[in-house]
C-alpha cells in the first residue's frame, strides 16, 4: 500500500462513551477506534445524537460518562481538529477570499488560499461578497476552510448537505485525499459517500430505530 504520510499517525479511541445534550443522555456505551487513514461514519435517525457525539469529540460538550482520547504526536498541540458543522461561519459582508483569509490567519495556514478556492471551484468568484453565494456555494466555501489549514482530524456533520451531485463527488474526493494522507475522519451523514476504498470506512449505528 502506498500511503503518503502527510500527517503523524493519530488514533481516536473511545471507551464506554456516553454523550448528553442538556439533561438528556442521547448515546451510551460507545466503544470505537479510528486509526490514521480511516473514516468513521455515524448513522442514525434524526435526534439520535450524531451531532452531539461530534460536538463531544470536538470538546465543546463534556462527555456524560466514559471517555475518549486522541492518541498521537499532534494531539498534544492545541489545534489539530476541524469541525464542519451545520453553521458555515461565513460573514456575508466579506468577500469569498477575505472569509477564507480570515480562517487561514486564525487557524494557521500552510496551504495557499487560491489553491483551496480552486479545489472547491470558487476561484472565479473569489472577489464576490459571500452574502451573494447560494447555499451550496456557501458550503463549498466552508469546505475550503478545511483545506487551507491542513489538520489531521476532520469532524464532519452532514458534509454534503445543500451540495449538488458534483459537490457530493468533490466531498468524496476530498475525504479520500485526506485519508490518503493519513488523516482521520468522523462523519455524520445520511447520504452514502462514494468513497474509493470501503475497507477503510467503518460504520457506527447510534440511536434505536423504531
Amino acid at each position: 500500500m502506498t500511503l503518503r504520510q502527510g500527517f503523524d499517525p493519530l488514533t481516536l479511541r473511545a471507551t464506554g462513551l456516553a454523550c448528553r445534550r442538556g439533561e438528556r443522555v442521547l448515546v451510551e456505551g460507545l466503544d470505537f477506534e479510528v486509526g490514521p487513514g480511516r473514516a468513521l461514519l455515524l448513522k442514525g435517525p434524526n435526534g439520535a445524537g450524531k451531532t452531539t457525539l461530534l460536538m463531544t469529540l470536538y470538546g465543546a460538550i463534556r462527555p456524560h460518562s466514559g471517555g475518549f482520547a486522541f492518541e498521537g504526536a499532534d494531539a498534544d498541540t492545541a489545534s489539530f481538529m476541524h469541525l464542519f458543522g451545520h453553521q458555515s461561519a461565513i460573514k456575508p459582508r466579506l468577500s469569498v477570499a477575505e472569509n477564507l483569509a480570515f480562517w487561514a490567519a486564525v487557524n494557521g495556514n500552510s496551504a495557499s488560499i487560491d489553491a483551496a478556492l480552486d479545489a472547491v471551484r470558487l476561484a472565479s468568484i473569489a472577489w464576490l461578497d459571500a452574502g451573494y453565494l447560494s447555499a451550496g456555494q456557501t458550503r463549498r466555501l466552508a469546505w475550503a476552510r478545511l483545506l487551507v489549514s491542513p489538520r489531521p482530524v476532520w469532524l464532519l456533520d452532514e458534509p454534503t448537505s445543500a451540495l449538488d451531485a458534483q459537490g457530493d463527488a468533490m466531498v468524496a474526493q476530498l475525504i479520500d485525499a485526506h485519508l490518503d494522507q493519513g488523516g482521520l475522519v468522523v462523519a455524520a451523514t445520511h447520504l452514502p459517500l462514494a468513497l474509493r476504498d470501503p475497507a477503510r470506512v467503518t460504520e457506527l449505528r447510534i440511536g434505536t430505530t423504531p
Binding site: M55, Y58, G59, A60, I61, R62, A78, S79, M81, H82, L83, G85, H86, Q87, S88, A89, I90, K91, R93, L94, E98, A101, F102, W103, A105, V106, N107, G108, R145
Partner: protein, 221 residues
C-alpha cells in the same frame, strides 16, 4: 498576518461595511446630552456642575447598550464555535474582539464628547479632563462588558441581561470616572481619582479576556 490582528481587522472591516451601528451609539450618547438640559432647565451653572456626571452616565449607558453585539453575531453564525479549535487561544480571541469593540464604540463617543461639552456648558479644563477620563475609563467598561457578554451569549434573547449583570461591577468605573473630572468642592482629588480609574482599567483589561475565554469555552456545554 497573525490570528490576533486578523480578528481585529475583520471586526473593523465588518463594522465599517455594515455602518450605522457606531453612528447610532454616538447619536444616543449625544441625545442624552440634549435631553438633560431640557429636564433640569437652562441654568448654566447647575448644568456645568452636573456635566461630569451626565457625560459619564451618557457614555456608560451607550457602552452598555452596545455590549450584546460583542460576541452575538459570531456566536449566531457558528464562528465562535470554530474559533475554539483555532491556533489563537480563546482568551486572545476575546482580547482581540474587545480591542475592536473599544475602537468601534468608545472612540466614536470620545470623538463626539465636544458636542456634549458645548451643550452642557463645560469649560475647557473640564472638557479636557472629561476626555482623559473617558479615554482611560472606557476600556474597563469594555472589559467588564466582555465578561457579561460572553456569559450571556448562549442565551438566545439575552440582549439586556449582560448590561444588567455587569452594571453593579461597573459602578466603581462611574465613581472614579466622574471623580477624575470634578475638582470641587474641597481639595482637588481628580488626580488620584484618575489614577484609581487607570488601575481599574488595567486590572479588568488584564483579567477579563481569560474570564471571557473560559465563559465561551464552557458555554456550549
Amino acid at each position: 498576518m497573525t490570528g490576533f490582528s486578523a480578528i481585529i481587522m475583520r471586526d473593523l472591516r465588518l463594522a465599517l461595511r455594515s455602518g450605522g451601528d457606531a453612528l447610532t451609539l454616538v447619536l444616543f450618547f449625544v441625545m442624552i446630552g440634549v435631553v438633560v438640559p431640557f429636564a433640569i432647565g437652562p441654568d448654566r451653572e447647575l448644568l456645568a456642575r452636573l456635566a461630569p456626571g451626565i457625560v459619564w452616565i451618557a457614555a456608560f449607558l451607550s457602552m452598555l447598550l452596545g455590549l450584546d453585539r460583542l460576541f452575538r453575531t459570531d456566536h449566531d453564525d457558528g464562528t465562535l464555535l470554530l474559533l475554539r479549535s483555532a491556533q489563537t487561544p480563546l482568551a486572545a480571541v476575546a482580547l482581540a474582539k474587545m480591542i475592536a469593540h473599544w475602537l468601534l464604540t468608545a472612540v466614536p463617543l470620545i470623538v463626539a464628547t465636544p458636542l456634549l461639552a458645548v451643550m452642557l456648558a463645560m469649560d475647557m479644563q473640564g472638557f479636557m479632563r472629561a476626555l482623559v477620563s473617558l479615554l482611560i475609563g472606557t476600556p474597563a467598561l469594555v472589559a467588564l462588558g466582555a465578561v457579561g457578554a460572553s456569559v450571556t451569549v448562549t442565551i438566545r434573547r439575552g440582549g439586556l441581561i449582560a448590561p444588567v449583570l455587569i452594571l453593579p461591577l461597573a459602578i466603581p468605573v462611574l465613581i472614579f470616572g466622574v471623580g477624575a473630572i470634578t475638582t470641587g468642592p474641597g481639595p482637588d482629588q481628580s488626580g488620584s481619582a484618575l489614577l484609581l480609574l487607570a488601575a481599574i482599567s488595567l486590572i479588568t483589561v488584564a483579567l477579563s479576556p481569560f474570564a471571557a475565554g473560559l465563559a465561551i469555552a464552557s458555554g456550549e456545554d
